[in-house]
């Protein structure tokens, strides 16, 4: 159908621009937030001079990202004498693509009724008829499973990069990345199992819709209220998946130069870095979807608000839509900022500590959490 095609092209454009934009903005946020945390000013010297004038636009260092990108593009594209040039060439993309793909199943807004939205333009409204679209690129029932399937793919890229670089540092980094990511993948899956037990579905839109409810009379039925421990563990495991400090063992500079991307330069290395920053945004989006009520404000649903007293506030469709889009972006930014705060707070683990933390600390807690959840769900005869 032409209508479906148009809507999904718009969705794709939106999702890609949001992810790329977040990736770019987060490099700036990382610099500036780290600087403010450590009483510094941060990068603020790059500027764009308006042609034929002496007006220099600095904009609190926002152009440093542009300067970085330009520098990476113009650098020499060094290639090591490797026996597997093909694997070496595709490794960055194997890391980069799944990160983008994960976002395909994340709902970034509620249901869209183009007929209602364009009621001021009768021709457009009539063309769309009474079709309804979820604000989500791929409406898959197995949403959460897709997230884990694609999330697990990045480790292949890291292993490929380490293996094909013919460099011992890369190899060691890749081995570390492999064992670390597989360990934490398990923890991440187990934390989410509790949520699946409670909500009874792996469809992310359904999970978000169920979080519009109310528990214990006043609290919004957000995942973080129902499963507070799982929320903390999920965030920890997700950050370990992303291989950032304190879990940046695979690319520990002081030990392994740059880990599995030691032999990468110019924009290939830039793709690794960019994937890391986009993954921050994707983790923030996933965490918001699973634990923070997704695109909804507390007590909000597709038609407006239902406050704890049973009071209803009905909003226009367009208002709800804009509110949901903005809320989701705000939650993503907040959670990204939190991850950057963690990165600037904690020092790196030692390698044995890292794996012990996963297997002897997080894993038993996850299992205990799962058992308690299962018993509680069984005792209450299902949620709601």
């Amino acid at each position: 159908m032409m209508q479906d095609f148009v809507v999904h092209v718009v969705y794709l454009f939106y999702a890609i621009s949001v992810l790329m934009g977040m990736g770019t903005i987060l490099t700036w946020v990382e610099r500036k937030q780290g600087a403010v945390i450590s009483d510094r000013i941060g990068a603020n010297r790059a500027y764009i001079r308006l042609p034929f004038t002496q007006i220099k636009l600095v904009w609190i260092g926002l152009f440093h990202g542009v300067a970085d990108g330009l520098k990476l593009l113009l650098k020499e594209d060094f290639k090591p004498a490797t026996y597997d040039a093909f694997a070496y060439a595709i490794a960055p993309w194997v890391v980069f693509a799944p990160v983008l793909l994960v976002f395909a199943v994340v709902p970034f807004g509620g249901a869209l009724h183009p007929g209602e939205l364009f009621s001021g333009l009768p021709a457009v409204a009539a063309w769309f008829g009474d079709r309804t679209y979820q604000l989500q690129i791929a409406q898959l029932d197995a949403g959460l499973l897709i997230v884990f399937a694609f999330g697990g793919l990045t480790v292949i890229g890291a292993m490929l990069a380490g293996w094909s670089s013919s460099n011992k540092f890369s190899m060691l980094g890749a081995l570390r990345a492999g064992s670390q990511m597989i360990s934490y993948e398990l923890v991440m899956g187990l934390t989410v199992l509790g949520l699946i037990l409670i909500f009874g579905t792996v469809d992310l839109t359904a999970i978000v819709n169920q979080q519009s409810g109310i528990v214990l009379g006043v609290l919004p039925a957000w995942g973080v209220v129902l499963q507070p421990l799982a929320a903390v563990l999920f965030l920890t495991a997700a950050m370990a998946e992303n291989r950032r400090t304190p879990f940046d063992l695979p690319e520990a500079e002081s030990e392994l130069i740059a880990g599995y991307y030691t032999e990468y330069s110019a924009m290939k290395m830039g793709i690794f870095m960019f994937a890391e920053f986009i993954e921050i945004a994707v983790i923030a989006a996933l965490f918001s979807t699973l634990f923070l009520g997704g695109y909804n404000l507390p007590y909000m649903h597709d038609r407006g608000f239902t406050l704890p007293g049973g009071h209803e506030i009905v909003l226009a469709h367009g208002t709800v839509l804009v509110l949901q889009l903005v809320t989701f972006l705000a939650k993503m930014l907040l959670m990204s900022s939190f991850q950057i705060l963690v990165r600037w707070t904690l020092p790196r683990f030692r390698y044995d500590q890292l794996l012990r933390f996963a297997w002897k600390f997080l894993f038993p807690i996850c299992l205990a959490n799962l058992v308690v959840t299962a018993v509680a769900v069984w005792a209450l005869g299902g949620f709601q």
Partner: protein, 197 residues
């Protein structure tokens, strides 16, 4: 078999005097993580509040635009050439400062004036390269005529071009020695006759 009257001490002996000890709560890693996050988050909010209320939330100085006022009291960061009462430099272009300079930053070109038998030599050119000067003060020590001194100032040369960091005789002579209370001019007469004029 161990003697039951001398029990084996199982306590671990400290190796370092400042060996860290971990309490029960500290060994539960997550709580300490929360404490750390509160500290960094607090610093972040405090600094952001300062920035948002129009103050500076950082200890950094914007260097070329902003100079720190808290240089050390004993800092001597700029050379001056002492003048005779008639305004000519007291320097006799003997090159001793240029010779002793460990960074080799002083360049002197001598001029000859037969009309002045007391001081036939004088510097036609006296230049110092501040991009390499290490401010050791050896030139002041070496000068037999007390012609070069260092004053409480800092060279103000930040810029993109190292060749712009030279200063010449004209700038070195801008200092008016009569105002320096610590070293009066003309110099106090020395015990030995025939001292420097």
């Amino acid at each position: 078999m161990s003697n039951p009257r001398t029990p084996q001490v199982k306590r671990r002996v400290r190796v370092y005097w400042n060996e860290p000890t971990m309490g029960r709560w500290e060994s539960v890693y997550l709580l300490e993580v929360v404490r750390g996050l509160l500290i960094t988050g607090g610093v972040f909010l405090r600094n952001m509040w300062k920035w948002c209320t129009g103050r500076k939330g950082a200890v950094t100085a914007y260097y070329p635009e902003e100079m720190r006022p808290d240089y050390a009291k004993g800092n001597r960061g700029k050379h001056v050439l002492v003048q005779r009462p008639d305004g000519s430099p007291q320097c006799v272009a003997c090159n001793m400062c240029a010779t002793v300079c460990p960074a080799k930053v002083i360049e002197i070109e001598a001029a000859h004036d037969p009309a002045d038998p007391a001081h036939p030599k004088s510097p036609a050119r006296f230049e110092i390269d501040y991009s390499r000067c290490i401010f050791c003060g050896l030139c002041v020590e070496a000068c037999p005529e007390d012609a070069i001194r260092m004053v409480k100032d800092v060279p103000d040369f930040p810029g993109p071009d190292r060749h712009a960091m030279w200063i010449g005789k004209e700038e070195l002579l801008t200092w008016q020695p009569a105002r320096d209370a610590a070293k009066p001019y003309p110099a106090r007469p020395r015990a030995t006759a025939g001292g420097p004029t």
